[in-house]
Amino acid sequence: MAVGSAGRWFLLPGLVFLFTIDLIPLLYSAWISFYNWWLLRPRDVRFVGLANYARLASDAEFTRAVVVTTLFTSGAVLVEFLAGLGLALLFAQPFRFLRPLRVLLLLPLFVVPVVGATMWRVIFHPEIGVLNYYLSVLGLGRPPWLSDPTLALVSITIVDAWRTIPFMFLVMYAGIETLPGELYEAASVDGASAWHRFRYITVPLLTYIMLLAVLIRAMDVFREFDIIFVLTGGGPGTATQTIQILNYRAFGLGHMGEANAIGMVTLILVTLMCWILLRAVLGRRGAPA
């Protein structure tokens, strides 16, 4: 490990840029969250301390949104991680016919999210959608994909998975591609099975990349908005009403203080989630090997 003042010159440009651009808006928003500020009553802006947070803590709708968001996040990330890892391993095999297919696998990432979700709404349509047409031909009925409370959560998970399994795939695939090939050759010379090579070479060397993929997805699913807004708008009832949907409503109604408080709580929850994940996987040092 090199130690020296040279490190500073590598780090400073990026860090100064990032913290200047992001911290100023964040602090501003944190400040607003201590105010009672409704856009419809512009003269009645007053400092209320933690009152906005206290109201959220005792609000059953907000608690429910936290539960929904947590369910959606854990389900979607788990599915996406397993599928992405499976695909990365599948495509890391040395078959020439896999090369040209890699780009096809990435295509969902390139669809503008709002358009992708709108198209899925057409596909999911209970009466005239293509999915239910074939399901009913097969005698499986016409499930109300977006209007049944449980199914609606499953449906937004399906769309999120369709969109972002390619992300999981690409990150882990690139990680596998940089692993030293000598190790695998040595291991198979020594008679290690495919499972053992995976368990004792790939997993330890890929831990950091896998963890990063999960972290990034977890924080993005937790704050997912476009897909849910287009597909269900938070409904039916409150079945898919995540924290972000509530936040959007609060902004829409012009409750600036409360909306910013919801944003701050989201940031705190996401930070906690990532911190726990990092600690759990990497141990106390929290650093890559």
């Binding site: 490190g7 808006p25 999210p113």
Partner: protein, 274 residues
């Protein structure tokens, strides 16, 4: 470990459901762009139909599409370059140099990515207004680099720490400066990581909607805002939306095809002997 023939057959067999799942919605969007709306809802679904070009001509005549395409491209390419340069330097800094609090600072970098954008957009708007950067390429570019940078840094740390230290030390002994080591040794070995960072930085900018909507008026409007505009009060114009979405996908495909030859294994093979 020579792959066997049945292994190849099994792989091919697994690819069928994978590709069907991935490509069906894309196929549905692509064909919707050549269908009338009536045909989109036809039962049984139309797999074969006479394509019409109306949706494309409407998008291209009603909207200054190429102007917005240029905006999107300039901002996305700028975002990619900006976040790659800053991300490579900082990633290498974190991977190879330890200082007090380096772990805390690195976590803070990630925290910057966790804030809900909905909350950041108002103060960011006020900031850009103060700087006179509303509705400019620069205003959006700065926002998008700050979105893409934390992931670029964290991803590249992962790729840089795996570069064998011996190779770097050998280059140092041969008189290479730290920056020289990064450019000549580390970057070529960690190329797949840079490709992934580049693709995602490009996509952050290319697909972003909220900031583009709020911060751009006329001059710097990007494609996602234009496409969302096709989701009218009277319901979405599916055909035109699909046509626009297809045209918006094409640059991404070209970029990925150009970059993917660097996504290959084996550059470290033989880098360290004994």
């Amino acid at each position: 470990m020579k792959p066997t023939r049945w292994q190849a057959a099994l792989t091919a067999l697994l690819l069928v459901p994978v590709l069907a799942w991935t490509l069906f919605p894309i196929y549905w969007i692509a064909t919707a762009s050549f269908k009338t709306e009536l045909s989109l809802y036809a039962r049984p679904p139309h797999w074969l139909f006479t394509p019409i070009a109306d949706n494309y001509t409407r998008v291209l005549t009603n909207i200054p599409f190429f102007q917005y395409l240029k905006n999107s491209l300039v901002i996305a390419i700028g975002t990619t370059i900006g976040s790659l340069v800053l991300g490579t330097l900082a990633g290498y800094g974190f991977a190879r140099f330890r200082f007090r609090l380096s772990e805390a600072v690195r976590f803070l970098v990630l925290v910057m990515r966790m804030a809900p954008r909905m909350v950041l957009v108002v103060p960011y708007y006020l900031m850009m207004q103060r700087l006179g950067l509303l509705d400019t390429y620069t205003g959006l570019l700065i926002a998008y680099v700050s979105f893409a940078l934390p992931f670029s840094i964290w991803l590249l740390i992962g790729f840089f720490v795996d570069v064998p230290l011996e190779v770097e030390e050998a280059a140092m002994i041969d008189g290479c400066s730290p920056l020289g080591v990064l450019l000549r040794i580390v970057i070529p070995i960690a190329a797949p990581g840079l490709v992934v960072a580049a693709i995602f930085a490009f996509l952050v900018s290319w697909n972003e909607f909220l900031f583009a909507l709020i911060l751009s008026g006329v001059e710097a409007k990007t494609l996602p805002v234009v496409i969302a505009g096709l989701n009218t009060d009277a319901g979405p114009l599916y055909g035109e939306m699909s046509a626009a979405a297809v045209m918006v996908m094409l640059p991404n495909i070209v970029m990925t095809l150009a970059l993917q030859r660097y996504l290959v294994r084996g550059l470290t093979l033989g880098a360290v002997k004994g």
